[in-house]
């Protein structure tokens, strides 16, 4: 009985007693959800346009952030460094297309998936070789990102909103909206969707696969850079981010691999639910539940909807 009370009644009593804490938690969950969604967005872009599950997205985030910080440390002013990083991400996209994707054309998905693993290892080694393995501070102030916090006195309490979090949410929304627009209404977007449907059919109507791949990987690189800046501004730039990137997987599962709005909704659901669970139910089982809660949520959703909440249902024929 006691246990049932602790599980089903007590958390809600706590929520009612301290509404400011609840609002703060909701806000934190929302922000981490946005960041998960940004990482997931990079995955979805590449998956949509080439059918490759890009495991290297996580390390691309780290690599982009490290490049930016590294260039700044080398004496280049912040904004030119940002521009230069974008150029480097373009170079990376071209290199990946030439050296990895082009030779592996028409190979099974699992092979491409494994190739992105190889890419991950390579980039980890390369990044550490160039910039060292230690953690770094993101150059938040130099990039003219807002700092500090807004304190809201509501509900008889105090809710603190970090300005950088607000900026992250705004930037994420803008990116998502523009990507959705590009995918839906432009010529390139149509070509991207055609390539996703069938490489061969797209080639036959004159779409250049190589060009599309470079564009997609470059877009994913820019998304990675934005993610890296935001995430780096919230904590710091380190290779540990790569594990955080795995959290994008349950987000993708919830949203479906092919849906951009799905990635956003999935990110928000995961971010909110894991923060709430950790605060109110986590202490019952020893805490630290953020490590696995997202995956279990994804597992439960999958049991009822095997293609995620927004994914396309795949019809199998013999």
């Amino acid at each position: 009985m006691d246990l049932l009370y602790l599980i089903f009644v007590d958390p809600f009593v706590q929520m009612g007693q301290a509404p400011d804490l609840l609002v703060q938690t909701l806000w934190d969950g929302l922000v981490s959800g946005v960041l998960y969604a940004l990482i997931a967005l990079g995955f979805v872009l590449i998956y949509k346009a080439s059918g490759v599950f890009n495991f290297a997205q996580g390390i691309m985030v780290v690599f982009a952030a490290l490049t930016l910080v590294g260039l700044y440390a080398a004496g280049i002013p912040a904004l030119p460094a940002l521009a230069l990083t974008v150029v480097i991400m373009l170079a990376l996209a071209v290199a990946i297309e030439r050296l990895v994707l082009r030779p592996l054309l028409n190979r099974p998905d699992i092979v491409l998936f494994m190739a992105t693993f190889g890419l991950t290892y390579f980039l980890i080694g390369f990044g550490q070789l160039l910039f060292g393995g230690e953690t770094k501070q993101m150059i938040t102030r130099q990039l003219h990102l807002p700092q500090g916090a807004i304190d809201l006195h509501i509900l008889d309490g105090l809710v603190t909103l970090q300005k950088i979090d607000i900026a992250a949410a705004v930037i994420a929304s803008v990116m998502v909206a523009s990507l959705a627009f590009v995918f839906q209404y432009t010529r390139i977007g149509r070509a991207l969707r055609a390539v996703a449907d069938s490489h061969r059919a797209a080639l036959s109507v004159g779409i250049s696969l190589n060009q599309i791949w470079v564009i997609v990987w470059f877009a994913a690189g820019v998304v990675a850079l934005a993610t890296g800046i935001m995430w780096g501004a919230r904590s710091e730039v380190s290779f540990a981010l790569e594990v955080v990137a795995l959290k994008a997987l349950p987000v993708l599962i919830l949203g479906g691999f092919t849906s951009i709005p799905g990635a956003i909704v999935g990110g928000l659901i995961i971010g909110l639910s894991e923060k709430l669970f950790e605060l109110y139910w986590g202490p019952l089982i020893g805490g630290g539940t953020e490590a696995w809660f997202a995956y279990v949520v994804a597992l439960i959703v999958l049991l009822f909807r095997p293609h995620g909440l927004f994914g396309e249902v795949i019809i199998e024929r013999i």
Partner: protein, 358 residues
Amino acid sequence: MLYREVGQYHASYRTDTAIFPIRQDRVGMLVILAVAFIIVPVFGNSFLLDVVAIPFLIYALATIGLNLLTGYTGLLSLGTGGLMGIGAYTCYKLATWFPGVDIIVWILAGGVTAAAIGALFGVPSLRIKGFYLLVATLAAQFFLQWAFERVPWLYNNNVSGDIEVPTRTLLGLPVTGPNATPATRYEVTLCIVVVLTVLASHLVHSRVGRSWMAVRDMDIAAELIGIPLLPTKLLSFAVSSYISGVAGAMLVFLWYGSAEASVFSIDLSFTILFMTIIGGLGSLLGSFLGAALIHMLPIALRNVLPGIGLDLRPATVEHLNLMIVGALIIFFLVVEPLGLARLWQTIKQKLRVWPFPY
């Protein structure tokens, strides 16, 4: 010419369907076994045994476990690390409860819990496929690792949170713990690996293995020809998890000596998945080749790079190492996407017709 099979007739089904139908293969296998059982432990130093041979065998066993699931049944999994942990922690608990019983029994028993838990996490596989299943197994991986850290009962409430391997003897010889010689641990490891490999080989050549492969090739079609999907997939999960569990128990008891929860992290799962795919999906030989390549390559690079006159800091060597491993993975995928096992088949074919082109 070198690999002639002319004159080797198969007069019965028994010889025709043998695992090694060609005499050269049988002889070669015996030579390899003789080298592994006698030459390596007699002439190998503790570096060769402890750093190269024992880890290679344990990784190979874990890779076989995953290969049964991923290569033969077509179900992707990233839960191997967690399941290996289950094997290790079960073995540890059993060995502390019953100190008198032979440790080999507990290493083999460690896999049983892993099999049960693996089958439990395999239940969703009936509805979930491909990358979606990957996430389901990730849930297992992260949940299990969390449990290893947060449930003190599992590590006997140690202050350090590690599991320490006690000294246990087999026929008077210490097999585990600090007093066991590398040679003894190597021989025990080798025996377990050989026995389980033979069992796995018989399994995949049997009715069970054929039904796994049918499910892998197309599960709806397999169901239509009368293969019950859920029992087949669950059996695959259970057998694969059993082997992973045994490998995990061996990892701690015969190699590491003590371990904390982070040993069984997602990285271990990735390593094993790498070995499986680089070696060749659906090939037991490939499991060994993949484990050998991924495990020994960094060791070789670490020793070779400073050797050829490049004077580098150890950290730089590590970074170069990662880069080279990553580049090689891509290279192998480009050159031979079906893995090292296929490479060996190509070489065999070349040897068969040598010195003529065809």
